[in-house]
């Protein structure tokens, strides 16, 4: 069901994300500038200044405060939004737990950027991978359109009564955030049908005074509340699939649920990637297919909840897989790699390799992915750093 007021235009990923927040009718925004997130909040501020968006924007003095303000406004019952990157996200770490523990369905954009030292503003997913265990859902987009639509779907999923967990929506720095692509702006009325107003069950009300986040004891309900977060993450798997499908039908899109598969049906080998690297990998898959190699691609959209069942299903007839990570866990391998290996353990016994690419924004080239595919085809397993210079 396409609407006449939908229209296609050209915009950067950051502008697309700002339109996503506008379409989601956020009422409260608080953020602190950091490259390459800055243009998101500049855009939102200008929308408010020009009466295009009816929201309150509070310019705070730090990211810790940005998320604390958003936490508090959401607690009063208004849909709230923030955006950050890299060091800003690390600075929010304490508040990330506070928001998820309080079960507030806040959506935040994160433009994935490296963490210093050395100072580096380019693409690298280490910042969000660092926040894996904070109780936030994590989505990695591959296009500006997806980045915009994910904000809208994000609120729908987060606010589902079975979920009630916050969600981070990622764009790779500059590759999406500052690069212009065609984007279809959604029809506001249709979005309103898809995403109703926030109706927070437990919100600040002087007629019904409650304590929010008071302390708990070992014999209290602390452990049960943490387990409930895990249960909700598990329930989110179904909700994500359902809500994405609803969105696909309403807006004629074709997003995968937790993962997106490309030429996997008859594949012997699989590449697994997240974010924009998947675009290059898809190109390489086509190239190798022409040469007769049965290879496919799994793009992970949701890193949390992790697509555990999808991965088992997708890899059951595969001979070997290579996991491409734009982040690293020092002392081991890529983070997605360890997730995949643990998903397969005891169920599917195939060689899986870890490939670390594009750290600090290092270009990820077609030949790099071809090299990765070669290694996968040799059915070896190991941890490989791709396109690393010889220092000394």
């Amino acid at each position: 069901m396409k609407s006449v007021t939908e229209f296609k235009t050209i915009m950067t990923g950051n502008d697309a994300v700002a339109y996503g927040a506008k379409l989601a009718r956020v009422k409260f925004i608080s953020a602190y500038p950091i490259t390459p997130q800055t243009t998101i909040v500049e855009k939102l501020a200008s929308m408010i200044a020009n009466d295009e968006l009816d929201a309150k924007y509070v310019e705070v003095e730090s990211e810790h405060s940005a998320l604390a303000a958003v936490f508090a406004s959401e607690l009063t019952g208004v849909r709230s939004y923030t955006a950050t990157s890299s060091h800003g996200l690390l600075y929010m770490h304490e508040m990330l737990h506070w928001v998820s523990g309080q079960r507030l369905p806040i959506v935040m954009s994160v433009v994935n950027r490296a963490i210093g030292p050395p100072w580096n503003i380019w693409a690298d997913q280490s910042d969000t991978i660092n926040q894996r265990d904070t109780g936030w859902m994590q989505v990695y987009s591959e296009s500006n359109q997806e980045a915009m639509d994910t904000i809208i779907m994000g609120y729908k999923i987060a606010e589902n009564s079975e979920v009630m967990l916050p969600l981070m929506s990622m764009e790779d720095a500059f590759i999406l955030s500052h690069t212009s692509e065609p984007v279809t702006l959604r029809d506001q009325d249709l979005i309103n049908d898809y995403l109703p107003d926030l109706d927070l069950k437990f919100r600040i009300d002087i007629g019904n005074p409650m304590g929010y986040g008071s302390y708990d004891t070992p014999d209290g309900t602390f452990m049960e509340l943490k387990k409930d977060m895990v249960d909700s993450m598990n329930k989110a798997v179904r909700v994500i699939k359902d809500e994405t499908e609803k969105f696909n039908q309403m807006f004629d899109t074709n997003y995968g649920g937790l993962v997106e598969r490309y030429r996997m049906d008859d594949a012997d080998y699989a590449l697994i990637a997240m974010g924009t690297v998947a675009s290059t990998a898809r190109f390489v898959v086509d190239k190798l297919r022409e040469k007769g190699l049965n290879i496919g691609l799994i793009r992970i959209r949701y890193f949390r909840p992790f697509p555990y069942d999808d991965i088992l299903e997708d890899l059951k007839n595969i001979k070997a897989a290579g996991v491409i990570d734009r982040s690293v866990s020092f002392g081991y391998a890529g983070a997605t790699y360890s997730e995949i290996v643990s998903a397969l353990y005891g169920k599917i016994n195939i060689p899986v390799s870890s490939f670390i690419v594009g750290i600090g924004g290092r270009d990820v080239r077609v030949e790099d992915i071809e090299k990765i595919a070669d290694t996968v085809r040799n059915e070896s397993s190991g941890v490989y750093w791709i396109n690393v210079k010889k220092v000394i």
Partner: protein, 299 residues
Amino acid sequence: MPTSIPKEELMAPGHTACHGCGATLAMRYVLKAMGQKTVVSVPASCWAVIPGAMPFRTLDVPMVYTPFAATGASISGLREGLDIQGKTDYNVVGFAGDGGTADIGLQGLSGAMERGHNVFYIMYDNEGYMNTGVQRSGSTPYGARTTTTPVGKERDFKKENKKIVADMMIAQNVPYVATATIAYPEDLIRKIDHAKAVHGPKFIQILAPCPTGWYYPPEKTIEISRLAVQSRMFPLYEFIQGKFYLNKSFKPIDVSEYVKAQDRFKHLNDDEIDNLREYVNERWNQLLEWEKIYSEQKA
């Protein structure tokens, strides 16, 4: 004698504070003055523990608990979120200790005050990190022994003067700033009433003596807080829209009377008490000077 203290009780019995806790009385009076239409935000501190473990809650108003540094930003978000929904008649109150205000929370406090939200920030000043076991804070006065400034072979009491947040708020030109203490509850309630009449940010620093951390018998809390004012260790003043009023309506006493009533200063020798006396006099003269300057400016 009739009193101006509202009868309404928004604090229920059953809190878990120490006997003689000044911070508990501070909250009780603040809520009496604020009334039922109030939301309180509390960071990590004794007051994060005093209301009891969930699901208990000693206060009859909504309470939002936040991380240590988040008071200023949380009241900003609460205020704006409520205003968006037309709930402009709710009082939004941050209630934080001296550590959460003078130290880790200073950035958030300063930001919230600068942005001009219509909020109250109440600092209950027990002059130390009491919840974590009596450590030094920026607001601990010169001479005090704490568990991180212990007096052992070395005389390692706090060597620096108190960082006075209310003064910083005046420097920032916050529309309403005051100091108060629980020994003068009518003054405290009057100040909150004055603050309520101001639209914008309001900051009130309440001295809240702590028998556990100041090492005095719990029944002396009111007496100690009165001595703090009389000895001029904790002057009471009010800064309303650029005008400064210093309270001089009490019988001054020597600093040594205040100091000797508490074991946290027990180790001080005469020279060290002299240092304190000198500091107190200098500061008093400075406040008199401010009174002159601010009244001239506005005249």
